[in-house]
C-alpha cells in the first residue's frame, strides 16, 4: 500500500490529538506514532510574537516533496505535515509532523528527517516581534540546521 501524505499549509491552529486520531482511526497495523510539534518560544520574555511569511504554492509543493522522500525511505503507514503561517504568539503551534509505522525506529527517523528538511528547504521565514513593540527583524538561518539536514543523504 502506498501511503499518501496529508500536507497542509494554513494560518489556522491545529490540534495534535485530533490529527493523530484521524491518522489512526480504524487501523490495526500501526505499532508506533511519533508526533513533532514546533512551538513559538518567548525567548526569555523578549518575544511578543513570531510572524511567519511563506511562499504560497511552493510551500505545499516543497513539503510534499520532502514527505514523498520520507515515504520512499521508510515503511510508513501514515504521514501528516501541517505548517502554519501568520502571526503566532509564544506558546502557540507552528508546525506538526506525525509519522506512523509498524515499528518505532521508522517513525522516529521519518519525523526527524521531515523536520530537518522542513527547516532548511520549506520556503518559510520567521520575523520576530518584540514585547517592546519593535521588530528585531528576520530570524537568521542556523548552521546547525544545515548540519542536521546533512545527516541524511540528499533528497
Amino acid at each position: 500500500m502506498t501511503v499518501r501524505p496529508s500536507v497542509r499549509v494554513e494560518a489556522k491552529d491545529f490540534d495534535v490529538g485530533a490529527e493523530t486520531a484521524s491518522l489512526r482511526v480504524g487501523r490495526t497495523d500501526i505499532g508506533a506514532i511519533v508526533t513533532f510539534t514546533g512551538l513559538c518560544r518567548d525567548e526569555g520574555g523578549r518575544l511578543a510574537a513570531l510572524e511567519l511569511e511563506h511562499y504560497p504554492g511552493m510551500a505545499e509543493a516543497e513539503i510534499r516533496r520532502i514527505a514523498d522522500a520520507a515515504i520512499e525511505r521508510w515503511p510508513l503507514t501514515g504521514l501528516t505535515v501541517i505548517h502554519r503561517y501568520g502571526k503566532i504568539p509564544p506558546g502557540g503551534n507552528i508546525v506538526l509532523v506525525i509519522a506512523a509505522s509498524a515499528h518505532r525506529q521508522a517513525a522516529f527517523e521519518a519525523a526527524s528527517f521531515l523536520m530537518d528538511f522542513l527547516k532548511t528547504k520549506a520556503p518559510f521565514w520567521k520575523k520576530e516581534h518584540l514585547v517592546s513593540g519593535e521588530s528585531s527583524g528576520w530570524v537568521a538561518a542556523r548552521d546547525e540546521d544545515d548540519t542536521a539536514a546533512g545527516r541524511w543523504s540528499a533528497i
Binding site: G38, L52, E53, H54, Y55, G57, M58, A59, A61, E62, H83, I94, V95, M115, L118, K119, T120, K121, A122, P123, F124, W125, K126, K127, G137, W138, V139, A140, A141, D145
Partner: protein, 83 residues
Amino acid sequence: MQIRYFAWVRERVGLEQEELDLPAGIQTVGDLINHLKGLDDNHAAAFADQEAVRVAVDQEHADADRPLAGAREIAFFPPMTGG
C-alpha cells in the same frame, strides 16, 4: 517573466512581485541577478550579499547556473527559517 521576492529580499526591493521583460542575452538565474542589480538602488541592496539570496525557478529550488528557458516564475528569498 514574473519575479517574486520574500522576507528581507522583498523588504529591500520594496516589491512583492514584478513582471519584467528581460533583454536578450539573459540565459541563466545568474544573468538575471546581474540584470536586477542594475535596475535601481533597492534591487542593488537586495542582492548586495548575493551569497545570502536563495532562488526558486517555477517553485523549485535552483542554482545560479540554472537556465531560464521556459521558466514562468522566479523567486528570490533568504535562507529558509521555517519549521
